[in-house]
Symmetry: D2
Subunit: 133 residues, 4 copies
């Protein structure tokens, strides 16, 4: 029966902020033509930009104290996960590996945040769905 | 068996862009202290900012041609819907009514977009789930 | 002696919104590997993303009714201008030409907006600088 | 004769990121109706949102490695400065004081960044303006 604490939210903001930064930085290496980044497929650059943007939006919802942040966190996890997979496929570059790792972490904290919020929403509206025992 | 056409995506971008604009404008009236806007509860200002931001992100995903825009559209619909409800509750002000209407339209087009994308994802990965007959 | 009217501001929001959209779309063609877009240098993709982002921020300041939008419009013009130049250099592609044109228009409306705001600011603080006769 | 090092840019990204966060958080307290925040004038909430957004855009330009970040940093400083002043006027609240402090720091680092970039731009285009000896 998960519920999000202030500490959980802070951690999730932190992982979204770091993931946003690292994804944008990884895309930036492509723009600079640095370190073998030329081989990065264009579709992966787009995925990195997608991931950076939804992480930023997700962090902003939580910082703003929005009650609806769970929906954004769920979407964020759904973007971070394939972004991590694609980074992994691109191989041994240490920067790409670091990007994969933070994407994975961010997907995990966002999934937990979404689950905790979902539970709270269901408690608030018990007619809509019965919470787990 | 819905599938999103270029025309559907264009319409969804359009409704997200308009919803973003109108929500931000409605919040701005509060900042200016205009037209009875003083009675708008602070939590509704936040909801308008939430709605504006996720609409912007949602439009950006579609303009970028992201394959993952369905997840963002689903989250967008989940924010637009309660924003429309709250605007409706705030009564007879014509600006607020216009804001409610575009939020409702945006929620609808985003829900359809999310459903169409979900179907395509399932076709692409038939092992994951069987599509409807 | 320029001063910005509501109509000017509306026009400037409109050109920023369209410029944001077209720059992001032009970058998206690169991500899709469409129509000769492969030859677009990576640094130009970054410039398109820069232009899209500052146009979005500029439009948001004006929609929010911010008193400080002149500073953002000045920065926006300073990004739109070189973006238009680079689009022009990339030749005869009609999409790129359309992008160049809206960047040029947006640079112009933003410059005028910045000038009008600057003048107003100087009137408000006459000690700081003497307004033109 | 200032020139921006990688370390300077990193510091400026850091201060923009922190300023974005704190300004959005300070506005969020208003939305929650917390701690005397009710007395915060609506125009100051808008200024906090302005400051948060341009700080975010400014950080993104630098993370993306944009050559034009100097223009955005200049605009950012021009928004952070009055935001710090307004926070100061709102008195003894420790959260507001912390917000004023980070806005002041961010304005300073952004001003320096803009100055350093301006110099570099002038070296690159000596015909446009003669650099200082």
């Amino acid at each position: 029966m998960p519920t999000a604490t202030t500490h959980d939210i802070e951690q999730c903001i932190e992982s979204c902020t770091r993931c946003h930064r690292l994804c944008l930085e990884t895309a930036a290496r492509h723009f600079r033509g640095e370190g073998g980044a030329h081989q990065v497929p264009e579709a992966h650059i787009r995925l990195l930009l997608d991931c950076a943007e939804i992480c930023q939006t997700s962090a902003n919802f939580m910082v703003r104290g929005s009650e609806l942040h769970g929906h954004i966190c769920a979407a964020c996890a759904a973007v971070c996960e394939p972004c991590a997979d694609e980074c992994d496929k691109l191989g041994e570059d240490p920067h790409m590996a670091a990007c994969a790792e933070i994407c994975r972490t961010c997907a995990q904290t966002c999934r937990e945040m979404a689950a905790a919020t979902h539970w709270r929403t269901r408690r608030a509206h018990p007619a809509g769905a019965s919470p787990p025992e």
